[in-house]
């Protein structure tokens, strides 16, 4: 069954419901979270139906006229690449919407106290929350460059406001920092978009294919890539990410990981699919940059004692895995890179939210003050191990097979391109050994050993918080056991890729 206007609905309904929630939230307060969740549950179902259609027909395309006189149109394309990405974004956002219900209440109580009328704060949070999935899904489904840019900017508005209202100690400064970095990345990307427009006279992503042989193509590709790399917090542009993750309310941390990771999708959709020959020129430097980021991110993660910063720094390293795969410019690497990004989105949502669970239940973030929590919070401990297993590519979770495919592509490029790239591939594989250390060492620090006396009365988090995370872990297990849930899509897309 395929609903009419399905793709439009997945973007428009969250935006409409955002306005609705803004009004209704003032009445229902905390319960507004359920409206957010229901909306995303609905769009998830719609996307699943679209998925069936994509598997049947190869793609689903919808085009709408925005300004008839000027013939301004915008299109949505669900194909083997965009559909799994959009679905992963939507599912993780839905899980986090549910997780947020209790968490944001806790933040509001801490920041604004118990007594005041706080319903408007719930309304702000839950309505703005819906802009994230709308933006992320729009980026995934759009066929227009300008929409990619606009959606990238759009996402940063709720990020700024949510952090400003609900973040931690330095929330106002960091909210601004986050907004400026986001805008900087989007702006550099926009320079590329404008340059492309001067050549193609179109904002359609597909029109970029006409740039083959154009002397400006390299610069267009470079600007777009740098813009995305700023957003992806690769080495050199990573200085904002640990701050932002440390200061925002943890219930949107997973979304921030998605915002960082969506850069991989943009690279695949725009630079690889449309401008492959040009992107290939940047392949080697990007691979090296990815390797440096993987190693540096790993060391930086090892240096952390703050559980929120820990997973923030690991995002730097993990996102670079996908970048490495994409930069290898092999079909296997590209597909593996996107698969890893999807898998990582689940893992990182679990781990970041788990940091939130700890903050919620313990009121502390410093791992030096933790220990033995598995006795009191067994479910949380299991979630932490499952999240770590995704990142460390342990079966039966989805990280296992995605890592295999990703590194097959990276090594393939190494074999084809000679010793230097082979060494890069080898070093990047060795760098993944750090993942086991920086994911499982914190498990020991937080959950094993004797429990400090001040934490003896700690209890397991409510089901509404751990339940959605368990669901994400189960989805990851499901994908790990039957990877074709994702791979059938990606393969159908990759087989038409002209590389």
């Amino acid at each position: 069954m395929y609903l009419p206007y399905s793709l439009l609905q997945t973007v428009l309904i969250p935006l409409i419901m955002a306005s609705f929630t803004a009004f209704v939230g003032r009445k229902v307060g905390k319960k507004a979270g359920w409206i957010t969740f229901s909306t995303l549950a609905y769009t998830t179902i719609v996307l699943c139906m679209v998925g069936v259609e994509v598997l049947r027909k190869g793609y689903v395309y919808e085009e709408y006229v925005w300004i008839p006189i000027l013939e301004v149109k915008f299109g949505f394309l669900a194909d083997g690449l965009s559909l799994p990405v959009a679905l992963a974004m939507n599912v993780t956002c839905a899980a986090l919407a549910l997780f947020s219900v209790n968490y944001i209440e806790h933040r509001i109580e801490i920041i604004y106290g118990h007594g005041e009328e706080k319903n408007f704060l719930y309304a702000i949070y839950h309505s703005l929350f819906l802009v994230f999935p709308a933006g992320l899904v729009w980026i995934s489904l759009t066929t227009d460059l300008i929409v990619v840019y606009l959606a990238l900017e759009l996402i940063h508005i709720p990020l700024y406001i949510i952090m400003y209202y609900f973040g931690y100690v330095e929330r106002r400064r960091i909210a601004l920092m986050s907004f400026l970095w986001g805008t900087a990345g989007a702006s550099v990307f926009f320079v590329g978009v404008l340059l492309a427009y001067t050549q193609t006279k179109s904002f359609a992503i597909l029109s970029l294919q006409g740039l083959t042989g154009n002397p400006l193509a390299f610069w267009i590709c470079l600007f777009m890539l740098i813009g995305i790399l700023i957003k992806m917090a690769v080495f050199g542009f990573q200085a904002w990410l640990p701050w932002v993750h440390a200061e925002h309310p943890t219930c949107i941390a997973g979304i921030l990981a998605n915002i960082v990771g969506i850069g991989n999708y943009i690279i695949a959709r725009i630079l690889i699919q449309q401008m492959f020959k040009t992107f290939q020129m940047l392949s080697i430097p990007t691979m090296i940059l990815a390797l440096v980021t993987m190693v540096y991110g790993a060391f930086l993660t090892l240096a952390q004692d703050d559980v929120k910063r820990l997973y923030a720094c690991s995002t730097i390293s993990q996102t670079a895995y996908s970048l490495l795969g994409l930069a290898s410019c092999t079909t296997l690497g590209i597909v593996g890179g996107i698969f890893w990004f999807i898998s990582h989105a689940f893992g990182k949502c679990i781990l970041f939210s788990l940091a939130g669970v700890l903050v919620y239940q313990l009121g502390i973030r410093d791992m030096k003050q933790m220990g033995g929590l598995a006795q009191k919070m067994p479910l949380t401990a299991v979630l932490c191990i499952l999240g770590s297993m995704i990142l460390s590519a342990v079966p039966p979770l989805s990280g296992f097979i995605s890592k295999w495919i990703l590194f097959s592509g990276v090594f393939l490029q190494g074999i084809q391109s000679g010793l230097f790239i082979f060494v890069v591939a080898m070093l990047s594989m060795i760098a993944t050994a750090f993942t086991v250390v920086y994911t499982f060492w914190p498990v020991k620090r937080m959950f094993f050993g004797p429990i400090p006396s001040n934490l003896k009365n700690v209890k397991e988090a409510p089901l509404i918080m751990v339940g959605p995370l368990l669901a994400l872990a189960l989805i990851s297990i499901l994908i790990g056991i039957y990877p074709n849930l994702v791979m059938d899509f990606l393969v159908s897309w990759a087989e038409n890729l002209k590389i």
Partner: protein, 675 residues
């Protein structure tokens, strides 16, 4: 139903059943325990159903598409039933079942029993998957699964209470179970990363992940691979890193002694009988590919695989044998011994590829020793669990003189220990002889001497740990316990029957040793030579009956055994006095006690240094970048802002001037562009 169902169900049953254990616990503990033990029982039945295939030589493979891969063949999920997988799967399933039975009593009343059963069942499923997988992705999935279970079970007592610590006594540091689990997981994962790289390279060159196809198509891919000099050597090294980690061989061996922090049945099943043999299994599984590559294809680099396996195996056997001689903890002595014995297996398999004459002998020796060791070492660990449980101490020096109280355990443990020591006509004697004989057949006398020397060490430490545990006078610790009203008693039948069965089979295999060896020799000869067509250079006979080998073997048994007997059973000489009198011996003992300083070195380089350098990444890289971007840029902006603001005077004539200047500049720009 497919005829191949036992090969599927034997690993699917524990996987599917494991989560149900938590549900069963909600009903009652008996149901939980019953379910937990019935799953490996069913697995064992399934594996037994595969045994007739050994006799009929009906080997098969069945697979289904699992994941699509762009531009390449889809990866399948499948099972491979051949002599290697049938034998190992049966060893795993049988020993697993017995150990699970033992665990009922051992874990009774402990906390986290459901978690224990869950992880043990997951382990059994993972191990059987590893063994029966027909391709190396599922092999790797099983491999990682057992590693994860090992991590969880070593750290079973994750609360790290002092009673669960191992190591010591001071000044030697203690280690907590969670620390030990993490060490094992990280160290084996390092090996796994290299293994993954090796497997991916093989996949890319061969275009397949299927073991059979990999072998059958090597004429096609091996020339391409070897066209890049060093590539096959690199792949050999990378592939071997996995087994070196998993089977605790030098230089990735340092995790296994600490793995003894887990409950005794875990040590018996995972860290003695099965998981640590996964590396040996892997070498055996890949052996035909490299053997064919070198001896038929003529690709010289393929020999690296065998040279490394043989020499690392031989060296590890000796290295860890020396450490077992001085260990104070009973389970740790057994752990060192496990590494040493796995070294023998690696040596056997390595030798198999160094000379075609030794192919069958070496291969059979490796597998025979694997079976024999799995039986007696599982029994030894289960016995040690009983003893440690009763004596309430991990140190052998806290035991002594308990044979009267625990006669059954004493007897059964002696039989197993003697088998380990290579006492004539027990299973260990024949299987170790087979390894020694294969070295002689391959005319590798250095490795033969090394293996023979290690046999003397084995005999010494086996009799030593038996002497210290059961003989002589009772220790002060036991005397104190007795004063406190504690009474040592024999284990419950539910505990000793499993290790009684294992010991009985050890005796049976020992009594029928030459026939048993001949039987598996025949199976593998037919498989390797007739089915896989591996050349054996006309050497097509029954196992060699070199008289030199059993004689030398008995000689070294006595060489190591007699001093140990005098020191630790008769106690005619005091080992302490000897060490005090001879400082050089004391220095050697200290060297062995400190694990040849390899563990402290690893600790210094990989743990202490990283912990020390940890803050510097933040301090010297991240912080300066953070300051430059997030402080420097805003400061620069405000500086520019203040400078530029000076132009905004608010005085009309100045503003008019700026406008005029702007117009002039615009006209000039337009003229330049226009021209």
């Amino acid at each position: 139903m497919s005829l191949y169902f036992p090969a599927w169900f034997c690993w699917i049953i524990p996987f599917v059943g494991a989560p149900l254990i938590f549900l069963a616990e909600k009903i009652n503990n008996r149901l939980r325990d019953g379910l937990a033990v019935s799953l490996p029982f069913l697995s064992m039945l399934m594996c037994l159903m595969l045994l007739p295939n050994l006799l009929t030589q009906n080997y098969f493979e069945e697979e289904f598409v699992w994941v699509s891969i762009p531009n390449l063949k889809p990866i399948t999920i499948g099972v491979l039933v051949d002599p290697l997988s049938i034998i190992i799967a049966n060893v795993v399933a049988f020993i697993s079942f017995l150990i699970m039975v033992y665990s009922i009593k051992y874990m009774h009343g402990e906390e986290g029993v459901a978690r224990y059963w869950f992880m043990m069942n997951l382990f059994i499923g993972g191990m059987l998957l590893l063994v029966l997988a027909n391709n190396f992705i599922f092999f790797l999935a099983g491999w990682k699964t057992v590693g994860l279970c090992s991590y969880a079970l070593i750290g079973h007592y994750y609360r790290d209470e002092p009673k669960d610590w191992i190591g010591g006594p001071p000044p030697t540091p203690y280690q907590t179970p969670s620390q030990c689990g993490l060490k094992a997981w990280i160290m084996t994962s390092v090996g796994d990363i290299f293994l993954l790289a090796g497997l991916i390279l093989l996949y890319l060159y061969s275009g397949t992940v299927n073991f059979t196809e990999l072998f059958q198509t090597q004429n096609l891919w091996m020339p391409t691979l070897t066209a890049t000099p060093g590539m096959l050597t690199l792949i050999s090294i990378l592939l071997l890193c996995g087994p070196l980690g998993k089977s605790a061989q030098f230089p990735l061996h340092e995790w296994l002694p600490e793995a003894m922090a887990g409950p005794a049945p875990v040590s018996a099943l995972i860290h003695a009988a099965t998981m640590v043999k996964a590396g040996v299994y892997m070498v055996a599984r890949f052996l035909p590919v490299f053997f064919y590559g070198y001896w038929v294809g003529g690709f010289n680099e393929a020999l690296t695989f065998f040279i490394l396996a043989a020499y690392i195996g031989g060296f590890t056997a000796f290295l860890t044998g020396t450490q077992a001689m001085v260990s104070l903890e009973l389970k740790k002595a057994l752990a060192y011994s496990t590494m040493s014995q796995i070294g023998y297996m690696m040596l056997g398999l390595g030798i198999a590829g160094l000379n075609p004459k030794a192919l069958i002998l070496g291969y059979v020796a490796g597998i025979f020793h694997l079976i024999s060791h799995a039986l007696f070492k599982a029994s030894l660990f289960l016995c040690s669990g009983t003893v440690i449980h009763e004596c309430k101490s991990i140190y052998m020096t806290d035991m002594g003189g308990i044979k009267k109280e625990m006669p059954i355990t004493w007897f059964l443990m002696w039989i197993s220990a003697l088998s380990l020591a290579g006492f004539p006509f027990l299973s260990g004697f024949w299987s170790k002889d087979a390894v020694l004989a294969s070295c002689l057949t391959a005319q590798n006398y250095w490795l033969f001497m090394l293996a023979l020397g290690t046999a003397a060490l084995t005999s010494f430490y086996s009799i030593r740990f038996m002497g210290l545990t059961f003989h002589g006078d009772k220790s002060n610790h036991l005397a104190k316990l007795e004063k406190e009203g504690e009474k040592l008693k024999e284990a419950s039948p539910l505990m000793w029957i499993p290790y009684g069965i294992l010991t009985t089979i050890t005796i049976l295999v020992g009594v029928t040793g030459p026939f048993f060896e001949s039987f598996i020799h025949h199976i593998f000869e037919s498989f390797l030579h007739e089915t896989l067509h591996l050349p054996i250079n006309g050497f097509n006979s029954e196992p060699t009956t070199h008289l030199l080998v059993p004689l030398a073997s008995i000689g070294v048994f006595l060489l190591g055994g007699i001093p140990a007997y005098l020191l630790y059973i008769k106690r005619q000489i005091s080992s302490e006095k000897i060490l005090t009198s001879y400082t050089s011996l004391f220095k050697i003992k200290t060297f062995f006690w400190n694990r040849w300083y390899i563990d402290p070195l690893y600790n210094l380089v990989f743990v202490k240094t990283i912990l020390k350098l940890r803050p510097y990444v933040e301090k010297f890289i991240e912080h300066p970048m953070d300051v430059a971007y997030n402080v420097g840029v805003p400061k620069l902006m405000s500086y520019l802002y203040f400078k530029i603001r000076k132009f905004q005077t608010g005085i009309l004539p100045y503003n008019m001037l700026y406008i005029l200047l702007f117009i002039i500049a615009t006209i000039i720009s337009l003229l330049v562009v226009w021209s």
